[in-house]
């Protein structure tokens, strides 16, 4: 048993850390550290710096720009990104649509979309949730009817998506749509469709969350005409595609590096409270939980590296604990802030507490994650 990284892994981490130290623009890092809003240009600026270095999509195959790193190296790199205070890389293209196209896309689709995702030419968003379909995603109703004529085979899409993150920045959206409403199983009859956000009939309406930020949207589809070539995989097999994405190697789900940075910041920011035993003990308990999660994450990685098996329901555990830790840290930050202060940082810290409540709800609520573990790990 050896809990330490190997000399090669440490050298890799040091290389990544040194490069990030030299190439992460100070103004982006400071904005991230101070919980400031990042514009589309700022998000893309960082995306393109990584793309130029060849490190923006490490998990992709080499021919499409992947780095060839193993799972441990990829994990180390993602943790270093979080720890360095790099702006988030939007997952919709790099970690969602990209992997789907790599697995299920036609050659033409890969050539058309992958380089543009890689280089940050197209900004993607995800159209899954609907007003009536949250945790029960398979009940989705947005319809796509296949039609012929009037410019070749195409689908006509009608319906509504909701909670669509950064749809107002997006050039493209990938959607789960119902192409057949007459199937016996609800999971059948769903298809995975790519749409240009500029297509007539698509309307984006902001949904302002309780922190006042415009991050998510409603997206309405009104007789939207989508070329049939934008269907990914087979018609009616969209659920297979969506499930593949759920099992995709996302070993950064726990966001350990990011939380380590928040913890270090919290210790500095809340230094005046360290003599308060009640506050300090709460901090210690979160720190202990984070140490345990990091080791748990490494144990899963180690197993994955040896067995070659995808992480499966392990990811659910990392998501549950990781988000609980993120929320706990944001709550302690809220308490560390001077109740009499109204400066920008103090206000941002308070709003961040509001915003972080989303983490246990999004990407499969923590209750859904528990259902997944109960079913697939415990056999209940």
């Amino acid at each position: 048993m050896d809990l330490n990284y190997s000399a090669e892994e440490l050298a890799f981490r040091d290389e990544a850390r040194a490069w990030l130290g030299a190439n992460l623009p100070a103004e982006l890092r400071e904005k991230t550290e101070r919980y400031a809003h990042l514009s589309k240009d700022e998000l893309l600026r960082w995306h393109r710096i990584l793309a130029k270095k060849g490190w923006v999509a490490p998990a992709w195959p080499r021919e499409w720009g992947g780095t060839g790193w193993n799972v441990v190296q990829r994990y180390i790199f993602e943790e270093e990104l979080g720890y360095a205070g790099a702006p988030p890389l939007m997952p919709f293209g790099l970690a969602m649509c990209g992997p789907v196209l790599l697995q299920f896309g036609t050659d033409a689709q890969k050539k058309r979309f992958l380089p543009r995702i890689y280089n940050g030419d197209d900004f993607w968003c995800q159209g899954y949730s609907e007003p009536g379909s949250g945790s029960d995603l398979a009940s989705l109703k947005t319809s796509a009817r296949r039609m012929n004529g009037g410019g070749g085979e195409h689908y006509v899409v009608n319906g509504q998506k909701i909670w669509t993150t950064l749809a107002h920045y997006a050039d493209w959206i990938f959607c789960l749509v119902r192409t057949d409403s007459g199937t016996s199983k609800r999971q059948e009859g769903i298809s995975f469709l790519l749409m240009d956000m500029k297509t007539p009939g698509i309307t984006v309406r902001p949904l302002i969350l309780m922190d006042g930020a415009h991050e998510v949207n409603e997206v309405f589809f009104d007789d939207v005409k989508v070329p049939a070539e934008n269907l990914v995989y087979e018609e009616g097999k969209g659920w297979t595609v969506a499930k593949y994405l759920l099992g995709y190697e996302r070993m950064n789900t726990g966001r350990i590096g990011e939380s380590k940075r928040q913890l270090a910041y919290l210790k500095r920011y809340g230094a005046h409270l360290m003599q308060d035993q009640r506050w300090r003990d709460r901090l210690s308990r979160i720190e202990v939980e984070l140490i345990a999660l990091e080791i748990t994450n490494l144990r899963f990685l180690d197993r994955m590296r040896r067995t070659g098996q995808p992480p499966g329901a392990d990811v659910s555990m990392l998501k549950i604990r990781g988000t609980e830790i993120q929320q706990g840290l944001s709550e302690l930050m809220l308490e560390a802030a001077d109740p009499a202060a109204s400066d920008a940082l103090s206000m941002a810290i308070r709003k961040r507490y509001l915003s972080m409540r989303k983490t246990t709800i999004y990407a499969g609520s923590n209750e859904i994650q528990r259902n997944i573990i109960a079913k697939s790990t415990l056999g209940l």
Partner: protein
């Protein structure tokens, strides 16, 4: 980075598990507990497997194993709720090996390895709670006077390692069991313990003071962490089994989401605890900086204590009335986890220690 036991560690853990499954099952354990509280037969079986030699160096016929080598064994002990006074022997043997004279070591350690001599560590005192330096037993000349409390294994030990205070500070001493009075009792989890009364008891000093004691207690804490993980694994396994077989309202109760989610949280607590047990054992063995070692051990014990409480309480609750019954092993696992959560310091103690480091 590697989280597996090596081949030797795995083989040892497997053979201990095999033996316990056969010779130390719940019924066998019940008989031991109802009788003397330990089993000479089990002790000699474990000695034959090499367990007594595990903490002792090769110079004295042992294997020189560390906490990681002991992890699999302690997990198996936690699973089977072993009551044999093994961990006290490990800690006392380590202290003798590290601080004893050549004569002391030659006289004792080979006999320990063979299973002929049992040791215990007499440190705790009433009112001291978990503070290591709250030692009031006095050493004058080579005689000890005072009282040690809750000494695990004391009733059956041949020799005791006793902490005592002299004008030079806290020191460690070797005392014959026959030279002291032991008032035996059983702990909440049915282990043999005793209060030890020393009245001018003849003692041989061994090297090492508070720092050695602290190192030994950190090592012991790592063992407690592993033992607790074994007990929690059993608690989770048996509760899951119960959820799948117990029927109410015409269906297995494991079909109810309220119970499923609680079971999932138990499983998560167990995984997190296991990770910290790995950390504790690794640091107990490899960390040369006492402060870093103490930080890791205390962090681990906080998590283990919290997880032991959570898992044991939920295991009983999800078993319903059956969880309260002393006929079911899970209630005994609850008792063991309740004790382990406090052994070598509860969560509050380690939170305070972590903050002071």
């Amino acid at each position: 980075m590697n989280f597996d036991y090596n081949e030797e560690q795995q083989l040892l853990a497997d053979s201990v598990r095999r033996y316990l499954a056969k010779g130390y099952d719940f019924e066998a354990r019940r008989k031991i507990v109802a009788g003397e509280g330990w089993s000479a037969d089990a002790w000699s079986q474990l000695a034959q497997m090499g367990l007594m030699g595990l903490p002792v160096g090769a110079d004295h016929g042992g294997f020189g194993g560390g906490a990681v080598d002991l992890m699999g064994v302690m997990e198996a002990f936690g699973d089977a709720l072993v009551v044999e006074p093994y961990a006290p022997l490990v800690l006392a043997a380590r202290l003798i090996e590290r601080g004893g004279s050549a004569t002391q070591k030659n006289a004792l350690l080979p006999a320990v390895v063979e299973g002929r001599v049992k040791l215990a560590l007499a440190h705790g005192e009433k009112g001291a709670r978990y503070a290591l330096d709250a030692v009031r037993v006095r050493a004058a000349g080579n005689k000890l006077t005072g009282e040690k409390s809750a000494v695990l294994g004391a009733p059956v030990a041949d020799r005791l390692v006793v902490s005592a205070r002299s004008d030079a500070g806290i020191g460690l001493y070797l005392v014959e069991r026959a030279a002291v009075e032991v008032r035996p009792y059983r702990t909440l989890d049915e282990r043999l313990a005793g209060d030890v009364l020393l009245r001018d008891a003849p003692a041989e000093p061994i090297g090492g003071g508070l720092a050695a004691l602290e190192e030994a207690m950190d090592f012991g804490t790592a063992l407690v962490c592993a033992e607790a993980v074994g007990a929690m694994q059993f608690a989770c396994d048996t509760t899951l089994e119960y959820l799948k077989t117990r029927k109410q309202f015409g269906v297995p109760i494991g079909t109810f989401q309220a119970l499923q989610h609680r079971m999932v949280d138990m499983a998560i607590s167990l995984e997190q605890a296991r990770s910290m047990a790995c950390l504790a054992a690794s640091k107990a063995d490899a960390e040369r900086d006492a402060r870093e070692r103490a930080r890791a051990i205390s962090a681990a014990k906080i998590k283990i204590a919290d997880a032991a409480r959570h898992v044991s309480q939920e295991a009983v609750q999800l078993h319903g009335g059956m969880g309260m019954s002393e006929e079911l092993k899970v209630s005994h696992t609850f008792r063991r986890l309740t004790v382990l959560a406090r052994e070598h310091g509860d969560a509050d103690h380690h939170l305070a220690r972590l903050a002071a480091l």
